[in-house]
């Protein structure tokens, strides 16, 4: 049986040394660097998409980086993560190597899902990263179950469950909040409220568009947070995760954010104005945090240039490793439908 891809980069191509450990909890510079990595990684994805090397659906997170970077900083290795299809940031911030994501998007055997998943289905059991679900709201029940198992096994862990505002209209969302609250399970629900589900603005989808208020009705602490400010997200997530970990039951954070780019590479963006996008771009989370660090003397032009250089190196290495990857042999098409040692 062929093993799963190891964490070390596959042979040959020079990989950066341990670039992807989770960010330190309240290290503002680390948070900014993490967002920078995500931003540049996704810009590279867009280029590779334009070049025809990445295909399928590609959902970029540009503008929303503070959410994944801030929330993930509140988690430890014992915690679990359930993400959506817009998940490159979650995977990177959880510490998955950039090359394993890139190889996946190029459809290579070295990819984290051996080329079976693509952009929307990234997984890493060694980091308790239960990925990548492209059915809107379908990850919420998984998160409830992971938290249930953790509690039944006596593990002191939080399951962080990311989803968009679009998920809030699904029955699965309501059922899952109800069940998690009823059973007081350790789930941290993280709503990435970027105001749009594809082209449907939240006010045209939800009778009660204040997601935190809806969640509060299920009997859990719920709070709306500035999702463009990575430190605000990290603070709120840190406090909420600590309570959840201590057995207080589930909590929800509604992270108010915005995606600067189209929903996916197919989206002509007819549903919103350029002025609206421009307005939100003035609150770019990288700039917000960068300015804060500069004001505090924690970042200057040299340090910023150095950070850019390191990130560029890491991404170039990821692309090189992925490009040198091996396509899964077609003879293996029918593998991984059942466990290979199964009956």
């Amino acid at each position: 049986m062929t093993g799963r891809p190891a964490d070390g980069p596959p042979g040959g191509a020079g990989a950066p040394a341990a670039p992807s450990a989770p960010a330190g909890a309240r290290d503002g510079l680390a948070l900014w660097r993490r967002m920078l990595l995500v931003r540049r990684f996704e810009e590279t994805c867009a280029e590779l998409y334009a070049a025809g090397r990445i295909r399928g659906f590609l959902h970029l997170y540009v503008g929303e980086e503070a959410v994944a970077a801030g929330a993930m900083a509140a988690l430890g290795p014992e915690d679990a993560v359930v993400a959506t299809y817009r998940e490159h940031a979650h995977a990177l911030c959880r510490g998955m190597p950039a090359w394993s994501l890139m190889a996946e998007m190029l459809g290579m055997a070295e990819g984290c899902s051996r080329g079976r998943g693509g952009s929307m289905h990234l997984f890493d059991p060694s980091r308790r990263f239960y990925g990548g679900n492209a059915i809107v709201a379908a990850g919420l029940p998984t998160a409830v179950g992971v938290a249930l198992a953790d509690r039944m096994r006596g593990r002191r862990a939080v399951t962080a469950c990311f989803f968009g505002d679009g998920a809030v209209a699904e029955g699965a969302w309501h059922e899952s909040l109800n069940l998690a609250a009823l059973w007081r399970l350790p789930v941290l629900f993280l709503c990435e409220n970027n105001r749009y589900a594809m082209g449907t603005e939240i006010t045209r989808a939800l009778a009660e568009p204040r997601v935190a208020r809806l969640a509060a009705r299920y009997g859990m602490p719920a709070e709306a947070v500035d999702g463009m400010d990575v430190e605000a997200v990290a603070d709120a997530a840190g406090a909420a995760a600590a309570r959840v970990r201590d057995g207080a039951g589930p909590a929800l954070l509604e992270l108010e954010t915005y995606r600067f780019r189209a929903h996916s590479m197919y989206d002509a963006e007819r549903y919103r104005s350029k002025a609206e996008v421009a307005r939100w771009r003035r609150r770019d989370p990288l700039t917000v945090q960068g300015d804060r660090l500069r004001a505090a003397g924690a970042l200057d032009d040299d340090a910023a240039a150095e950070a850019e250089r390191r990130v560029a190196e890491e991404i170039a290495a990821a692309v090189a490793i992925a490009s040198a990857g091996t396509p899964e042999p077609v003879e293996d098409l029918l593998r991984f439908v059942h466990a290979e040692e199964a009956l």
């Binding site: 799963r4 891809p5 679990a80 359930v82 990819g111 984290c112 899902s113 051996r114 080329g115 079976r116 998943g117 289905h121 997984f123 890493d124 059991p125 239960y130 990925g131 990548g132 679900n133 059915i135 379908a138 919420l140 029940p141 998984t142 998160a143 409830v144 179950g145 992971v146 938290a147 249930l148 198992a149 953790d150 039944m152 096994r153 399951t159 029955g171 699965a172 059922e175 899952s176 109800n178 069940l179 009823l182 593998r335 991984f336 439908v337 059942h338 466990a339 290979e340 040692e341 199964a342 009956l343």
Partner: protein, 329 residues
């Protein structure tokens, strides 16, 4: 060890769950009314008292989410048994079963599997009309990544659960509601059965009756009547609806050279279509007659008793189908 004891199919399933709960502390049962109420078909009666609320877990009416929570719990190291009252209601959870549980292994390139067991009742015969009677197991049998079991005997009802729990991938167990009162002998002690093969329930040389779940008894009754006419029918119980035991189907078809598929599900695009097509593809020149099918009528299940009977395969229909084949020989 005591000798085999008389038991019902219901008790056999309960015994299997009890054994699993005792043997492995990762196992728990979850579903609507499995605890205090004792299970909507009284399968889990008494288990709450024995194992407590942590492990015999009543859920709200949230099929999608408690089946999905079973997926999450399985991913995180538990071995959940999720009961969905009936296969009709399981459609509310179909997304989780098809899009997540069954797909996880493949779309993660083998890195994550979902060792989950989902049990549900299926089938008609109790005059509970269209929304409580359908035989939709073919829908699950359609899906790569699932194993689908249909215990038709007391021994299978008892023996299939443990190997299903040991399977690293999701298993759907479909129990025909008409079987819960079936009586038989339950051998003492856990006796796991193989969950890969079909079983010949009655050997015969003239015709093969392929059946599963509730139609095994129908086929057996037909075979008894045919024997009185001098026609020896073999009854093949599929037992495993996915992956189908194709060699067993072909071996029997080659032995008897005539095949009648008996399926309570609908004929169009159903399990009977798959079995018939497979036999035609692989054993066409060895057949004495075209494959015949006795299936559920293509209507939502009616309430009135006489209409319901007419909509479900009966032994008479099977006997008539066999006569058609044998007469034509």
């Amino acid at each position: 060890m005591s000798a085999a004891a008389p038991a019902t199919y219901r008790e056999a399933v309960r015994e299997a769950i009890r054994e699993a709960l005792r043997r492995d502390d990762r196992v728990f049962l979850m579903g609507e009314d499995v605890g205090r109420y004792g299970g909507s078909y009284a399968v889990s009666a008494g288990l709450l008292e024995e194992f407590g609320e942590e492990r015999v877990r009543d859920t709200p009416l949230s099929e999608l989410t408690f089946v999905g929570a079973g997926i999450g719990a399985a991913l995180a190291g538990m071995r959940p048994i999720v009961e969905v009252m009936t296969i009709n209601f399981s459609l509310l959870a179909l997304d989780q079963v098809v899009n997540t549980a069954a797909a996880m292994r493949h779309m993660s390139g083998g890195r994550l599997g979902v060792p989950l067991v989902i049990r549900m009742a299926t089938g008609g015969g109790r005059q509970v009309a269209a929304q409580h009677s359908h035989s939709l197991e073919a829908w699950y049998a359609h899906v790569p990544g699932l194993r689908v079991l249909a215990p038709a005997t007391i021994e299978d009802a008892r023996g299939m659960l443990w190997p299903a729990l040991a399977d690293p991938d999701p298993v759907v167990i479909v129990e025909h509601a008409g079987l819960y009162n079936l009586r038989g002998e339950l051998p003492p002690g856990p006796a796991p059965v193989d969950i890969a093969s079909a079983a010949v329930r009655r050997p015969g040389r003239d015709v093969t009756l392929v059946a599963h779940g509730g139609t095994v008894a129908v086929a057996a009754e037909a075979a008894g009547r045919l024997a009185a006419e001098g026609v020896e029918a073999e009854v093949l119980d599929l037992r495993v609806l996915r992956p189908l035991d194709r060699p067993a189907i072909l071996a029997s078809a080659r032995r008897t050279r005539r095949v009648v598929v008996v399926d309570e599900g609908w004929r169009t695009c159903g399990l009977s279509a798959e079995v018939a097509a497979h036999v035609a593809e692989e054993a066409f020149y060895e057949l004495e007659a075209p494959v015949a099918r006795v299936c559920g009528a293509e209507v939502p299940m009616p309430y009135a008793g006489h209409l319901e009977r007419a909509a479900m395969p009966q032994a008479d229909d099977v006997v008539a189908a066999v006569r058609g084949l044998v007469g034509g020989a």
